[in-house]
Amino acid sequence: MSTDLLQQTAPEPGSTRLVASLAISGFLSGLIIIGIYVATLPTITENKARELREAVFKVLPGVSMMQKLQFDGEQVVIKHGGKDDEYTLYAGYDASKRFVGYAIASEGPGFQDTIRLLYGYQPNERKIVGMEILESRETPGLGDKIYKDAAFVANFHDLAIDPQIITVKKGTKSKPNQVDAITGATISSKAVVRIINQGNERWLKRLPVNPPPEAGDGSR
């Protein structure tokens, strides 16, 4: 009872005190957040770079070195550092520094959200040699088979791109430019193929006929 009375008669804290306590806690919180951001940034950047490098090596079999390239509006030139954008692609070279193929990133709408993928392209034989999904939120158990189902991914290990890639019903693949769709995830399968076709449309006319300059010291 007495404490109740005390609390009722206790003076209201002034607005200065309220503002000050919010400002101080906000400031401290900001400091902590900056601290953790700075502390984890190198690891996060490194993780992302490693992820991308691993993906490039996965979609271009036999590659042991890669070089970042950039389309500058007219031609494709070697790029050192800087941020990747939609005009960036990667060239892969084997151990004796011979050009193997390009790794092209492309993205587009999937069943639920944007699918971002990377695929390996061999310009000499005009075919796709590998595909890796970098980001997707397809339905677990159905749509996520675009990267979990080995049989579907294997479609992209040797796939002709001319005149364009076509999705067919599972088990009916008969031509080199056809992809067996996943039963129960037709939309996701078609989305993957459409994204690759769009990537081809964007890039093929821009890529030089001759392979780009030999592998520099670039990023390994």
């Binding site: 209201e12 804290p13 005190r17 309220l18 306590s21 919010l22 806690s25 906000g26 401290l28 919180s29 902590i32 957040i33 953790i36 951001y37 502390a39 984890t40 690891t43 996060i44 993780n47 992820e51 939120r137 339905t139 677990p140 158990g141 159905l142 129960g184």
Partner: protein, 216 residues
């Protein structure tokens, strides 16, 4: 809850009697969204554990410094800071787990269970009790997430922690890892909890009646 309790009892109540999920039915959003596998459930449980215990500790130790009028905003700032720390730590150390949990780590801020514990408990008790209560509640939340995640992964993919359980011939119940499976499993678990609770109450009533008649 009016009777004074030991710190140990404060912890135990979160695990069973006042379980945040099965009894208080709080924190349903992460509960349903990330429990499609046991690993995700545990990762989410650990992140929530870290945030809840950390914020309860801080809120309880600074309760005399926080003016009553702005306490909720200060709690949210504290919780958000812990969540950001958990978010970046997961992103740096376990990028694959972070990829799976996606947007739901930042959303821990909006988990009403956490803010609820600050307002209802940590701000009124000493540090020791607040931390014990947070450990119990977060533990209970993690147990519930794991129960749901394990059931859904076993039935939905025929696996537990990614290990195949039933061999080649098992046809996964895909619906269990889709959203409806989450609701179905949660409903059944709530039913189980309530049934056990009823049984216990009936039993205690019976004992009480027996004692009364025996005393006569």
């Amino acid at each position: 809850m009016a009777t004074p309790q030991t710190a140990y009892q404060e912890m135990l109540k979160g695990l069973w009697r006042d379980n945040p999920v099965f009894v208080q039915v709080l924190g349903m959003c992460p509960m349903l969204a990330v429990t499609n596998s046991a690993v995700n459930a545990i990762a989410m449980g650990l992140a929530t554990f870290f945030v809840l215990v950390g914020s309860s500790f801080l809120v309880s130790s600074m309760k005399s410094l926080i003016p009553k009028q702005v306490r909720i905003s200060v709690y949210v700032i504290i919780i958000a800071t812990f969540v950001t720390v958990a978010d970046y730590t997961l992103l740096a150390l376990f990028p694959t787990v972070h990829k799976e949990l996606g947007a739901f780590i930042p959303l821990i801020v909006a988990n009403c269970m956490i803010l609820g514990r600050q307002e209802a408990f940590a701000s009124k008790h000493t540090v020791k009790y607040a931390v014990m209560d947070a450990i119990g509640m977060a533990g209970g939340f993690m147990v519930a997430l794991f129960a749901l995640g394990a059931v859904r992964e076993i039935l939905g993919e025929g696996k537990l922690f990614g290990l195949s359980l039933f061999g080649e011939h098992f046809e996964p119940w895909v619906i269990m890892i889709l959203p409806p499976g989450g609701f179905i499993t949660l409903g059944l678990l709530l039913l189980l909890f309530n049934w056990v609770g009823e049984r216990k109450k009936a039993f205690l009533d019976q004992v009480a009646t027996a004692q009364v008649t025996g005393n006569r």
